[in-house]
Symmetry: D5
Subunit: 98 residues, 10 copies
């Protein structure tokens, strides 16, 4: 089940640089762990913004919230979630039903 | 070069049903032609909306506009375009630079 | 899997009254059929608006879109979808894990 | 009398962790007390947000304000209130008037 | 139980003048009937707008929706409802609790 | 001359509790003084918000600004002002012109 | 008593040209009559928009609404009203209180 | 004197094709005439939108409004105007003041 | 050349009172100096807001930015600029072209 | 490949003046270096705002993000990016295809 998730990061301008480096390292490690699991198949940087657009592939709303709320940067993010479904023009449908 | 494109469709409620069937058939054929070319790798339906979220992979801004402005539904769409770049946490980078 | 869905209805002011009566009757019948199935456990009227707030309980994003896009009033609606998860303070959790 | 209430929580990023733990514990206890009373029949987490969507069942506007303004997190919340009424398609009406 | 209600009227510019005169006459009569009942204690024109700000005093959300949805202009209105409670600085409280 | 005034209060979360108690006491005293004068005939709490909706009855725009800008909480408020006029359906007009 | 008033005009694109010429002529005549009276001291065109920014000098909210609601283009306008007061830095105050 | 101007075009979906072809031809001719004069040095298409971003170089606000309001598509456009000034980091300043 | 300028002031709530008094005194002196020059013909307080609406009469966009960016309160302001032109209904035109 | 980029700068009001002077000097040097390379052909100040409107001419989305994210002021900016294409009315096309 797919979801589009836009994450905007707002770090306090006076954040201690060691604290910042640590949280960013943990964020990257956690993100890569979830990507490796197959539940976070796409992550792109939005040009000119401290934001990403991601696609998640999870079993439930609950699982998506559990992943997102454990992001080390979660307290500093504004997150928008868009549930996705198959588009009737998607050529992947043709391949499945030739 | 990747772009996220959100397309919202607003058809006039009194559109002639034959005109509507024709434009939707041409939209689907055109979309599938561009998908087959590889320039439109993803298209998803946004749940509960007459909208799609798509990813385009094109050589230039100009090419993206040419594709979008030739959509048969273009006169009935509101379109938002977000240029995308590689995200530093993307595990695809690890594979390329192991 | 729960979703909150807000539906705002915008009928054209010059809609034929028979056409309107027919579509509203079909909307009600369809809504009640889905409610009876258990997939639409709550529907409330928002005071002072031609809108409802509903809770859906479905197996997937795809199923939710299929239900919503088959609403007879779908072409006249603006719909917002909010995926829901369990709240950690919900007393229902206490009952399940006493 | 039903109300839909959306609560968005914004804690200061530099909040002391003991202060935070204390306020969250008091929030949970208070919420569960009101839920147990029957006046707060539903509380759901909005996926990807530090927010909840709740349904309240109270005797008056005044009672709803009294409950909400006593939430320990009230000073840190943005709250939207939507008064609800019975929807004419609700199958619960059929059961009452068979 | 008090509610502030803002009503914005949007009549189609090509509405037949007899139809318009009839609906406005019925709106005025209905409004004055509800005002006389005591459930609509205040109605003010917002300067420069085809809008009113009103205060309703009703027994329930349901009653408020029933009144508003029966307004002859209801299909042409955008309506915002704000539930009200007693303000702790209101001097009327002093009079009640001297 | 009537005005609807919506006041939203935003106190800094780390405001000293004595400073806060003092400013709230002065706000209440000042508000009640203006209410007693007849220039502030209504003040209501907006449910679930640290906000009020008020009606002022003053001789001029200038007088309204003087009252509002002297509110002890003025530096912490966002204020919206809506000038009001008589509504042609107001039954008070019938009483004046029977 | 001064008010800033922004008026945005939205004429239907298919308005009959004679009807349009007539309403614009009446709008201009009426506007100039009120300007001559001294109650509409300033009217400016907002560059690139079918809009004006005006200053009105009237005795009451009621008078302002009466002027605006009698504009021939009133049914085609969106109007925003901002009540104005004297600014403490205005040098006109120096001249009055030298 | 420079201005950035964003023009969004909204043609009625049922516009007669000859009327549309004529207005678009006149728009193009007029635009190119002003471009040739030097007062409209840049015009770009915004990707995926029926919109342009333009830079105008004119002697006055009045001249800009005269140019824009004579655009054949003016009645179908939403226009935003941003006055521009020299940026202190512009390297053109270095060339002028070496 | 005229411009309407709306300035909203947002001072930090914990600004030192001497610093504040000093900046406000400098703001007033600077504003009155520009007013005296004739380039700032109108300044009004917006009722209930820490905001002003002003009219500037300057030779260029550049001059307007120079004036605004030297305001002592500039770092604390949100500023909106609207370029103005002559309105065709302005009676001042009649006087010039009798 | 052209992009319009709007950058709004929000410096904390209590930023140390030496830190501020240093970051502004680095911003200017970096901006001028990119301008000199030809990838940042236009930069304009938006009148009355601590903002610029710029045109970038780069080979890819990735290159644009790399330039923008290395701006010393990047952590203090809100940035909007609009991809641009050739406009069919641009007279530069005539010159290329006479």
């Amino acid at each position: 089940m797919l979801f589009a998730v836009k994450m905007d990061v707002h770090l306090p301008p006076d954040m201690d640089s060691d604290v910042k480096a640590d949280i960013l390292a943990r964020e990257k490690a956690y993100s890569q762990e979830v990507q490796t699991s197959g539940e976070w198949p796409h992550i792109w940087r939005c040009v000119g913004q401290y934001s990403n657009l991601s696609i998640f592939d999870v079993d439930s709303n609950q699982r998506l919230h559990d992943i997102l709320s454990q992001l080390p940067l979660f307290p500093y993010m504004h997150i928008d979630v868009t549930p996705l479904a198959t588009h009737p023009s998607d050529i992947a449908l043709l391949e499945r039903n030739p």
